[in-house]
């Protein structure tokens, strides 16, 4: 029993080391949330994604681009063609040159990529006190523990930093952001958006909806992938039983 326990301790040390907990110097707790798309049978909740798009559109999009997505991709959220056209038409893109050789502005159409809020990185920095709001297309894949981290970050603001913490000018204290100083002002406030489906817009609800929307944006193939996976694993499982039977039959005269 004691031996078992010491083995368990050694294994736990290995696990801790492998995940870099010691290396980080400080352990930041990121709680796991029970997302709808977790697990082998998980899928996105359309209503949640639609609310998430609303938060992105009304809040995040003023600073953060979503350059890998096209408006047509919103069909996966359950929107019809006309709704997508109407959504895209709210944005302007530069097109051209026309037959006069001039560039012109036109309303965005479903085949256009999401129009970024700033023309380039310099413009983004100039408008954001020198900070560069990252593109959000792959955010949940580009951070360790992606979705949980994004949610924890959005809900991890603290009005007053802990005593003795030197907060730089124009920075905000966030419990989970590395170094705890983040240039992004707390983006979500109670009733910050008025949900089209009437859901009560608590900070937690908005953060969860936004995270769900970003998880879909990063992995739009997730549902196809998982359902194909179930099918592939089932076929392989049957095939496995068959190959084992064949092998036994073939080897029966040898053993």
């Amino acid at each position: 029993m004691r031996r078992l326990r010491s083995i368990a301790v050694v294994l736990a040390m290995f696990a801790a080391g492998a995940t870099g907990v010691w290396a980080a110097g400080e352990k930041i707790e990121i709680p796991d949330r029970d997302w709808s798309w977790n697990g082998p049978l998980g899928s996105f909740d359309r209503a949640e994604l639609q609310r998430g798009l609303q938060v992105y559109t009304e809040v995040c999009a003023s600073c953060h681009s979503l350059r890998l997505l096209a408006y047509r991709n919103l069909a996966a959220l359950g929107y019809g063609e006309e709704e997508i056209k109407a959504y895209a038409a709210n944005y302007e893109v530069e097109d051209g040159p026309n037959d006069q050789g001039e560039m012109f502005l036109r309303a965005a159409i479903p085949s256009d990529r999401f129009v970024p809020p700033f023309a380039n990185e310099q413009a983004a920095r100039a408008a954001n006190n020198g900070a560069y709001p990252p593109d959000l297309s792959l955010m949940t894949k580009a951070r360790k523990n992606g979705a949980n981290y994004v949610f924890a970050l959005l809900t991890g603001y603290q009005d007053e930093p802990p005593e003795g913490f030197q907060l730089m000018d124009g920075m905000y204290y966030n419990k989970v952001f590395p170094g705890h100083q983040i240039a992004m002002a707390p983006p979500l406030f109670e009733d910050g958006v008025e949900y089209a489906d009437g859901t009560e817009a608590t900070v937690e609800r908005m953060a969860a909806d936004t995270t769900a929307f970003l998880a879909w944006a990063a992995e739009p193939e997730l549902e196809d992938r998982k359902s194909m996976g179930i099918w592939v694993l089932s076929v392989l499982a049957i095939l496995f039983v068959m190959t084992v039977a064949v092998k036994r039959q073939v080897w029966s005269d040898v053993h």
Partner: protein, 424 residues
Amino acid sequence: MATKTEFKNPVVRWVDDRLPVFTYLDHEYNQFPMPRNLNYWWNFGALASVVLILMILTGIMLAMQYTPHVDYAFESVERIMRDVNYGWLLRYLHMNGASMFFIVVYIHMFRGLYYGSYHAPRELLWMLGVVIVLLMMATAFMGYVLPWGQMSFWGATVITNLFSAIPWVGDVIVTWLWGGFSVDNPTLNRFYALHYLLPFVIFAVVALHVIAVHITGSNNPKGIDVQVPRDTVTFHPYFTAKDSVGLVAFLLFFSAVVFFAPNVFGEPDNYIKANPLQTPPHIVPEWYFLPFYAILRAVPDNFIGGWVTGWMGVTFVSAKLAGVIAMFGSIAVLFLLPWLDRSKVRSARYRPVHNAFFWVFLVDCFVLGWVGANPAEGMFIWIGRVATAWYFVHFLIIIPLVSMIETPRPVPASISEPVLKEKA
């Protein structure tokens, strides 16, 4: 080999009389004698060839959609993930296929180490295998650069910079490798060209590896030679059936990763586009390089040659050069293994001391991998140094010494007989 197979089908016979491919297949895969006692660890060679073919096929299809340019590479990979039909499947198969390839090949190598498959007459077979691993490492490294994420860029920067450790000409060589003064578009282009080329070189060396094993025949868990026909069974149907079981089991594992945890082996940082102005907090290679990365970082300044030059207060062999030498040495030592191990008995089953050290060595490799995944600070420095030292001590001292002084247990007289004898 000498006898020609007679085929009934006239077309087959017509072709075979002119180019005996059917005779060859019949001899080498249908009637080919295999030791009857091979266990499931012998599946991994066949698995590796399946993965190689899968990698080449998915790779060619990805190449049709990928753009090797610093401004478009990252976006073109995401286009494959989002807009190309089943592009996500192709890419996840290819990306995780690399990890699978190393898992399968590492198991294949440890199987060879355990059962002494490198002993005479299989020295060349073993050495060709080491060449394949080296080529795989080069191919995997360059492939990892292609998506042009943060880890791609910084991994490429760190690894190519290793060559700057070469005395006098190092910097010139690095500039030549880069095709410029930093990792940039020319680097990406040549890595893409080489990443497309090398798999076919691997394929050719695999062919030699397979030809070599068909000359000597497979080793087996008892490590003794085939003596009578009763010791063997034909490749088909016995091992086609047994390999099929292993293949489907492997595909189950592979599919579970591809469909349900496709990024489990990857670094999140590689989903951030490469930015030459921003170094990620931890630069870590892919998991299959971690033990070698640990060896690279383990050697301190002036360790090699330190006892000669240290008193002069001059660094002749820097930590970097020594690390590079140690890292390449860790592979080079495998080439020497057939001559380092002087035992007449191949299989570790009958070599209790050698057997015990095999397991210690296996643990040592895992420890190196663990150290490689962590920053080189605190206790990891010392664990890394001890584990690196042990790696070389194992090959250069333990293996030769044990092989000379150990008294092996009696080896069975033949593959087919010993069952009764062992019990008596």
